[in-house]
């Protein structure tokens, strides 16, 4: 009886070890690194949704890049905003390589004044 109990315990321990082995193997192999995703369309959707909510144009025409940046949250990525018009660009470019860029063009808010908004993500 004692021997039977020992083997059952041994089997249970072995089963747990095998299970953990597969779970950990799968986890390491398929969880890291995260897959490469094209963020350019996602960035465009973010800018577009801000525009639809009326939270883009007032800040763009006043060159408030900081306010715009604070309105954007992209999980797992850093971001920065640049606002460009005929004269040049306001805001900083990211100090990084492998940067996704999404752009959004507006013709103005209450008066014609075209701008391009660039959202950098890295």
């Amino acid at each position: 009886m004692k021997r039977k109990g020992f083997w059952r315990t041994f089997e249970s321990v072995l089963a747990v070890i095998i299970l953990l082995f597969f779970v950990i193997t799968l986890g390491i192999r398929y969880s890291f690194p995260p897959p490469e995703v094209d963020l350019s369309e996602r960035g465009y959707d973010i800018l577009r949704s801000l525009d639809n909510r009326g939270e883009l144009r007032p800040y763009v025409v006043n060159n408030q890049t900081g306010v715009l940046e604070s309105k954007i949250r992209i999980r797992g990525y850093n971001h920065t905003i640049q606002i460009c018009n005929w004269g040049g660009c306001f805001g900083s470019r990211p100090p990084a390589q492998n940067v996704w860029v999404s752009t959004y063009i507006i013709s103005g808010e209450s008066a014609y004044d075209p701008y391009e908004v660039k959202l950098f993500m890295w």
């Binding site: 094209d38 350019s40 014609y112």
Partner: protein, 198 residues
């Protein structure tokens, strides 16, 4: 003896039931592992190929109507439309792309209708405009605008536009400002073309 031997063999099999379960679990785990590997291997994950021209095209297509409204508020719709086209053209050129656009704007002047054509096709164009049976042909150089006046068309009139191999019939309201444009964006082999009435 034989009977005893037989019962002993059966008893040994029964005693190894746990080991068989363990072997079965191991086989199931291997099958599961192999199965899931083919399903979720990194090579099999596909992300949609995103065309950066598409988002810009959608953006600009929507923005022309807004640019027209801003231009009308400032009583300079043609100037705003041409300036906005040049702005978009410059932004597209920064990305190595090219733009072609032809716009037709109709505005009523008392009972008459003024039709303005803006040409950003990259070459001069001779365009025939037919408003409810009256045809006028105007030559518009590249990056310039031309216009034709039609006297007292019906309140709802048909504008037939013909140039090169393109023909378009538009049903328009006389007392409303109408904008029709043909837009094409190109980058390498990637070409997006569309037309819009607003």
């Amino acid at each position: 003896m034989t009977r005893t031997k037989s019962s002993c063999s059966c008893g040994e099999s029964m005693g190894r039931k746990g080991q068989f379960f363990l072997l079965g679990a191991f086989i199931l785990a291997v099958l599961f592992f192999v199965g899931i590997s083919t399903r979720i291997s990194p090579g099999s994950i596909s992300f949609p190929k995103i065309n950066p021209l598409e988002t810009l095209f959608d953006n600009v297509e929507d923005e022309y109507a807004r640019a027209l409204n801003l231009g009308l508020n400032e009583s300079r719709p043609v100037e705003v439309l041409t300036n906005f086209t040049e702005f978009v053209e410059e932004k597209l050129a920064e990305r190595g792309g090219e733009l072609s656009l032809l716009f037709i704007l109709t505005e009523n002047v008392t009972d008459d209708v003024n039709v303005t054509v803006g040409n950003y096709l990259g070459y001069p164009v001779s365009i025939a405009l037919n408003v409810s049976g009256v045809t006028k042909t105007i030559d518009v150089p590249d990056r310039e605008t031309g216009y034709a006046m039609f006297s007292d068309p019906p309140e709802t009139f048909t504008l037939k536009v013909s140039f090169n191999t393109t023909e378009k019939n538009l049903l328009l309201e006389k007392r409303k400002v109408n904008l029709y444009y043909i837009l094409e964006m190109r980058k390498g082999e990637n070409i997006i073309k569309g037309d819009m009435k607003c």
